[in-house]
């Protein structure tokens, strides 16, 4: 971690740049939400923009762009479990047993037991 004043001043310019970009992306997020996308496209666009904003906060404000391996290792493990946490519960609604899947239109539901 740098503690040379010139390096810190350079970092401060970086912080201000990221602040400007975050403001811009916030405006873009709200503007894009007004467009009439289909739900999957709207979700994808919103999450891509949020991921870009989050990456800037993590890389610059949290100094992740120049961290140690132990931090990267901790975060890699976290990401693996986070993805599993997001996706695994969805499997409970994808197995199709019972009276039909929420993915199917109502007319094709109603398969009683299997």
């Amino acid at each position: 971690m740098h503690s040379d004043p010139a390096a810190i001043q350079k970092s401060v310019r970086g912080y201000m740049t990221v602040f400007g970009l975050l403001m811009l992306f916030t405006v873009i997020t709200v503007a894009v939400a007004r467009l009439e996308f289909t739900v999957p496209v709207a979700i994808a666009v919103a999450l891509v923009i949020a991921a870009m904003k989050g990456s800037m906060v993590a890389a610059v404000f949290m100094h992740l762009s120049h961290e140690r391996r132990w931090v990267y290792g901790t975060l890699l493990l976290t990401v693996v479990f986070f993805v599993a946490l997001l996706l695994l519960p969805l499997l409970t609604s994808l197995d199709g047993t019972g009276t039909g899947s929420p993915w199917l239109p109502a007319a094709s539901a109603g398969v009683e037991g299997r």
Binding site: M16, T26, T29, A33, V71, F82, L86, L90
Partner: protein, 194 residues
């Protein structure tokens, strides 16, 4: 007795203990909010219909700008210490605290509007997950404010005796605060816009 590796790095990790500690804590926080986001996904996928336009996008956008601003002032509070500027550090940390307070005040008005209209957490699945997610996030904001108040108050005297350790503590506070901001960066579009 001196607690080791509060300033100097551990030879095996290359980090002071506090820094690894805060990242491990943030990893647990990712799982906490991740579980709630996962619940949101499951609830929304399983719902026949999902309301839109129930939340004030204007208030949500203002709060997003406030929180991003507070992240900047927080990192500037740390950078000021690295530049040995105590006055600017106090200014930026106070600003961060104030911005957090404004965020919570906005949240209060937002919650009050819904509650007075009879739209509490029990009103709908959407409002249940909205109040849970933003309520937990709000408690995290409050927790961060308690820590900032400590470093603005009695904790500040460490700058005179152990300036490097104090700077590290502010850095770790910043890491927590940026994480809270990061959660909101995802909460805002998910709840307010989609």
């Amino acid at each position: 007795m001196n607690i080791p590796y509060t300033v100097e790095v551990r030879p095996d990790t290359g980090l002071p203990n506090g820094k690894l500690g805060i990242w491990l804590f943030l990893a647990s926080e990712v799982m906490l909010f991740g579980a709630l986001f996962s619940s949101y996904i499951l609830l929304r996928v399983g719902a026949a219909e999902w309301p839109r336009g129930e939340l004030s996008v204007l208030l949500g956008t203002i709060n997003t700008i406030i929180l991003i601003g507070s992240s900047v002032t927080m990192v500037m509070a740390w950078a000021s210490l690295k530049l040995n500027n105590w006055g600017r550090h106090r200014l930026f940390l106070s600003l961060t605290f104030l911005l957090a307070l404004v965020f919570l005040v906005n949240k209060y008005f937002e919650y009050a509007e819904h509650i007075h209209a009879g739209e509490g957490p029990a009103h709908s699945t959407f409002l249940a997950i909205y109040f849970t997610l933003t309520g937990l996030h709000g408690l995290h904001i409050l927790g961060g404010m308690v820590v900032m108040a400590y470093f603005l108050g009695p904790g500040a005297k460490m700058w005179k005796t152990e300036p490097e350790q104090f700077t590290n503590r502010i850095e770790y506070t910043g890491l927590y605060w940026h994480f809270v901001d990061l959660v909101w960066i995802f909460l805002f579009p998910v709840l307010y816009l989609l």
